[in-house]
Subunit: 423 residues, 2 copies
């Protein structure tokens, strides 16, 4: 961990929204942090190990702000179903199977292995209702060296009888048991995050208790917000006293400010919710592949990004069909073009540099100083072998990243989290 | 060619729109055609060679109804540019380079190799203005064993000075030289198709001459139609006498009927054009990845398909970013969901079985009896190794195809065109 070393090669990051910086030289790691970029290695670093990355691309590790680990096993299937059928026929039965520790161990091993081989170094993850299975996932992720916030799901209403916490009291007790176990476990880079599935699944009383636990344990929260118009109507009927959907979280102290928060989707937020998100520094997890698959709509991500909201990308597996944030970057550009064309001609589409910013610096901010190659940032880096995308043409660094996004073909040749080589 | 043989394994096709047939057994090839499917091999076939395809998927070869071969080298780049910038900075300069036979030979070799490794067995392809380079592409495709219609591009107005045929007379002479050369070449499965780029690029006089050539040589035609509203306005101003955009082709005898025709895109066709397409059995090349990338709109493909139009899928490389029709199938479902959600709630989204139908049986009809495993159809088959998509879950045949579409991971283990093994 404390070793000082350097990567040598083509080093690319996004110092600002829409700006791409591609530099040939040395990226030095000291104590798990970026010590600096140098065109030539300064004398004080003479003799440190240098890994020559040759023709590969060196990018900041990506941050996936929203995904459901137990859904990974069926991702890319059942895409023709509409949301309710999809939940009832695939999601709930699959998630319920994680009551079995053996199932959890085996399925999360596949998930963790596959996540490790993507460009993602940090992720905010929904698990299931099961404390033990969630701890199993956290253990596996921590052993892999990845950084993550992982949430035992909370759900006590509008869910199947055999996949519910049934009462606020039971939900609180189980959540507390889980938070205590996390304290004892002492994971290195994996932390708990409170995870009410979304307001329709969590009673007012349980939400209130989650707010108390957030304060008591000092933990962040993640959930879904304003993904579809019917969902917003449903929340209105379930919580007639709340001013907005966001208020169902905020009135319990679960919407930014002292409680760092990620809200997935945010497709149809009214201005009042937008103001609350901006004031509370709530992170928006923009999930463009999910926008393509779930028939809910297209989030105004370009506007959020350009107006200074906290926003990153989420794969939203398995509403999204892939863990690969390169593919999610391309989808972000694509759906924003369709939004411009079919919904809102007032906001120009996202560009790929903007999508890269969201995947790295934008989402990374939820995890601290993550996602940039600036001194003091976590040394999270991925070395990308894109030789599968080569042809007779010469491509610029940004064109190479674009081809990784649109064509795939980005093989992760090496990966570092906090300076530790995890792949 | 005349060998009788069988493939044994999981044989899947789409006998009707939206219907998927998955059968375990033997698919027999006689004289390059499908002789039949058999659960057990009949006595009359005792002793014929049987290739056991094990766990692989056996699908009809796919037909790509629209793609630009010279653009392949930069596909997946420059996606942030808008159409005119993209044409001027990437497309025209790259296409112009095919004046150099060495360039054409080298670049088309990469294209042909990569197309051969996809699930596509038949394609309708735009080349460049250059007769010799177009013949080179046709030679390479024919040698690969793939089936194709390939078009020397026609363009005499609204194009760069150094990439133009300049006059109708010059264009006609060059097109005739090319058609004569095709006759002499005697390609096995590769044929010429007249290819006015689109009405804005082809003067009325040149279009008229192309119509005469179509009749004289009995060749089909392909072009673009009603991709964007500004394009439609442009055509109106260029051809004030034409009743519709489609009429600029039809009045020259280049719109179905005796002249088999493919029209790419068809996003904003008025009812009059739709009627002409249906009456003339014009094939619509639906290009969903292009819809995502080019900011033109989303074609009403579900409506066309369900109302009995001739419709297949096109990769539209390089407006589309991939040759892989599995990925194009997923995009077809995705953009039709966004169309349903954001543009037209009156037409339910495409399903993956419908997309598979378009990729195989739907587009295949342009090439004859192609795209189904029924007796008398061309024995066009791809054997798909999807083991990269395996996990602990058991997937149905259709779920496996769906994962190939959404996740990639479909490796073409073997490929047959007219019963000839080409891979």
């Amino acid at each position: 961990m404390n070793e000082t070393f350097a990567l040598r090669g083509l080093i690319i990051d996004t110092p600002d929204i829409g700006a791409v910086r591609a530099r040939q030289g040395f990226l030095v790691c000291e104590d798990g942090k970026v010590a600096g970029f140098f065109g030539a290695l300064p004398g004080r670093y003479a003799g440190i190990p240098v890994a020559d990355c040759g023709e590969h691309l060196i990018l900041p590790g990506m941050s996936d702000l929203h995904l459901h680990a137990p859904q990974y096993s069926y991702c890319g299937t059942a895409m023709d179903l509409q949301l309710i059928d999809w939940l009832e026929r695939y999601t709930y039965p699959e998630e319920a199977r994680f009551a079995d520790p053996e199932h959890a161990r085996a399925y999360y091993a596949v998930f963790t292995r596959d996540l490790l081989h993507t460009a993602t170094t940090r992720a905010a993850i929904f698990a299931t209702l099961h404390t033990d299975a969630t701890l199993e996932l956290m253990r596996q992720l921590d052993q892999s060296g990845l950084g993550a916030f992982v949430g035992k799901l909370s759900m006590d209403r509008n869910c199947p009888k055999d996949y519910s916490e049934h009462t606020p009291e039971n939900g609180e007790a189980e959540t507390r048991r889980w938070l205590e176990a996390c304290r004892e476990a002492g994971f290195a880079r994996v932390h708990p995050i409170l995870t009410p599935r979304f307001t329709p699944s969590v009673s007012d009383a349980y939400m209130e208790k989650l707010g108390q636990l957030a304060r008591e344990y000092g933990v962040p929260m993640q959930s879904h917000l304003s993904e579809s118009l019917s969902e917003i109507e449903w929340v209105k009927s379930l919580c007639p006293d709340a001013k907005t959907y966001a208020d169902t979280y905020a009135r319990c102290g679960l919407f930014g400010g002292d409680c760092p928060t990620i809200m997935a989707h945010c497709i149809y937020c009214p201005e009042e919710e937008n103001r609350m998100m901006k004031d509370g520094h709530v992170f928006i997890a923009h999930c463009p592949t999910s926008n393509e698959n779930v028939i809910a709509g297209i989030a105004p991500a370009a506007r959020y990004l350009r107006q200074g909201y906290e926003i990153g990308l989420g794969s939203d597996v398995a509403g999204g069909h892939t863990l690969d944030l390169f593919a999610v970057m391309a989808a972000a550009v694509q759906v924003s073009k369709l939004r411009w064309c079919c919904v809102d001609p007032g906001e120009k589409p996202l560009t790929l540099p903007e999508a890269l910013y969201m995947a790295t610096a934008g989402g990374g901010r939820f995890f601290g100083k993550v996602g940039l190659f600036e001194p003091g940032y976590a040394f999270d880096a991925v070395v990308i072998d894109d030789s599968a995308n080569r042809n007779l043409r010469v491509f610029s660094p940004m064109e190479r990243i674009e081809r990784c996004a649109y064509l795939g073909g980005a093989k992760v040749a090496a990966k570092f989290v906090d300076g530790r080589k995890v792949l």
